[in-house]
């Protein structure tokens, strides 16, 4: 049986949810932002996109471009819960559903096709149900693999449904611009243009050896993808995250090292808590800081041991920052953990370390019971509370607590 993959992408997700919640916003240009003064746009409605309002623009920039733009503060839990409920809808059609991001899903219908008239019928039913339940729209692509399903889904935006049969894949791809292939951004697009390649047909017919010389292994991938062949292996459900990080843009630039350290303590604690939640440990850590002129620097270090301790992460990142003579105040700080492996419950040979581990487990339990930040290091009180906006790349945890 031929494989059938359905890709579902929610249209202007965060902004659509806000428009559905607030009927008076329907048909108006809306931008979802964080609650800080320096927040950037995390999503915009189609009405706003039409006027060039894009994700990542500052509030001031966007307001200057479109004075009638309505700013709405993002509500993370609302978007996560909606994502979980959409996931529940999809699980009624097949257990083979991958939550690709907070607003994208891959559904492998191959094994459950006999239960339904056709994949297009399933897609139409899913679209109808999402529309009725949440008042938002989605675009669906159906194809023999994830790559073409995603491209088809993007082609039908907004509110589209594009199905590509196996025998039509090459023809479907032929005239598409190379940038429609996921993974080909502006930089790669420019490099391909320099070779005289602008559409997938030209990429398909281009000698692979030349592509390989220019782009390495990506040269082979590009050639495959231009034919509509997905060169990537299926995602392993137990795959570990490559990195886990948190960052903050501050309302005011921070020059005081004491406050910078307090922020680093807060960020380190958040990274450590995520590591513990994911049941992983890390030994690589990075610190990123950005000056008001947007120049950004990153320093990395790999420790000789794995850890989940917020205190160790904090000491590591402050040790990275201490020798740096900051040329200005900072507007942004980020802490990331990489070089991650699964945590194993090994007996601790160091008594002190075991004590700390138990302490953090107790702190986690308290925060799980009474809410985030119920118990936190007193030093972090030096900083005003930061309000978070979810990243569109966020993926709800698999053991999401709301699942019924």
């Amino acid at each position: 049986m031929d494989r059938v993959v359905m890709y579902i992408d929610m249209d202007a997700y965060f902004a659509s949810v806000e428009q559905a919640s607030r009927p008076y916003l329907r048909g108006r240009p809306v931008a979802v932002v964080g609650s800080g003064k320096r927040t950037v746009i995390v999503a915009s409605s189609y009405e706003a996109k039409r006027f060039g309002i894009k994700t990542g623009m500052t509030k001031g920039e966007a307001a200057g471009k479109l004075p009638s733009l309505v700013f709405v503060k993002g509500r993370n839990d609302k978007y996560v819960d909606t994502c979980v409920r959409i996931h529940e809808i999809l699980l009624r059609y097949t257990p083979d559903v991958e939550v690709y991001s907070i607003d994208e899903f891959f559904v492998d219908l191959t094994g459950s096709l006999l239960l339904f008239p056709s994949p297009v019928d399933v897609a139409a039913a899913v679209k109808r149900e999402i529309g009725e339940q949440f008042g938002i729209t989605c675009s669906v692509g159906i194809a023999p693999n994830k790559l073409v399903a995603k491209i088809a889904g993007e082609c039908g935006k907004p509110d589209g449904l594009v199905a590509v049969e196996k025998e039509d894949v090459e023809r479907f791809m032929e005239d598409l611009p190379v940038e429609s292939i996921p993974g080909i951004g502006r930089k790669m697009g420019t490099a391909l243009k320099a070779l005289g390649i602008t559409i997938c047909r030209e990429l398909r017919d281009f000698p692979v050896s030349v592509l390989r010389r220019r782009f390495g292994i990506w040269g082979d991938y590009l050639s495959f993808m231009a034919r509509g062949i997905d060169p990537f292996r299926a995602q392993d459900k137990g795959e570990l995250p490559k990195s886990i990080g948190h960052s903050m843009t501050f309302e005011k630039d921070i020059g005081d090292r004491t406050i910078i350290r307090a922020r680093l303590l807060e960020l380190s604690g958040m990274v450590a808590r995520r590591l513990r939640k994911e049941k992983v440990v890390a030994k690589g850590f990075s610190l990123t800081w950005r000056y008001p002129d947007f120049t950004t620097f990153t320093k990395r270090i790999t420790l000789p041991f794995y850890t989940v301790s917020g205190r160790v992460i904090y000491k590591t990142v402050t040790a990275l920052l201490d020798p740096v003579r900051l040329k200005d105040a900072v507007r942004f700080l980020g802490v990331s953990a990489f070089n991650i492996r699964r945590s194993t419950a090994n007996p601790s040979f160091f008594k002190g370390l075991d004590r700390e581990e138990r302490l953090w487990r107790a702190v986690d339990d308290i925060n799980d019971t009474f809410g985030e930040c119920s118990l936190q290091p007193a030093t972090t009180l030096l900083c005003a509370r930061h309000h978070w906006v979810i990243s569109p790349a966020y993926r709800p945890h698999k053991s999401y607590p709301y699942r019924r």
Binding site: A20, R22, Y402
Partner: protein, 75 residues
């Protein structure tokens, strides 16, 4: 003080009316509902309209209490 009446339609809570400032407000439509967690406590949130203004109500499952969180008026 907020009082809310709801009926169970399948798994859905259907808000009918609530009291606010001594006035009984009829819920014309629930525009959105979602769930949040505050620690272990599950919170059900509802955006409802009386046809004029928009209200955000929350129901805290542990405490069995309703709260009026926000009132929004267009313009």
């Amino acid at each position: 003080m907020v009082g809310v009446v709801f009926r169970k339609e399948g798994q859905k809570m259907d808000l009918k009316w609530f009291f606010w400032k001594g006035r009984r407000l009829e819920v014309k439509r629930t525009t959105y509902m979602w769930r949040e967690r505050d620690g272990k406590e599950l919170i059900h949130r509802f955006m409802v309209t009386d046809g004029q203004d928009l209200y955000e109500l929350s129901y805290r499952q542990e405490r069995l209490m309703w709260f009026l969180e926000a009132v929004e008026t267009d313009g």
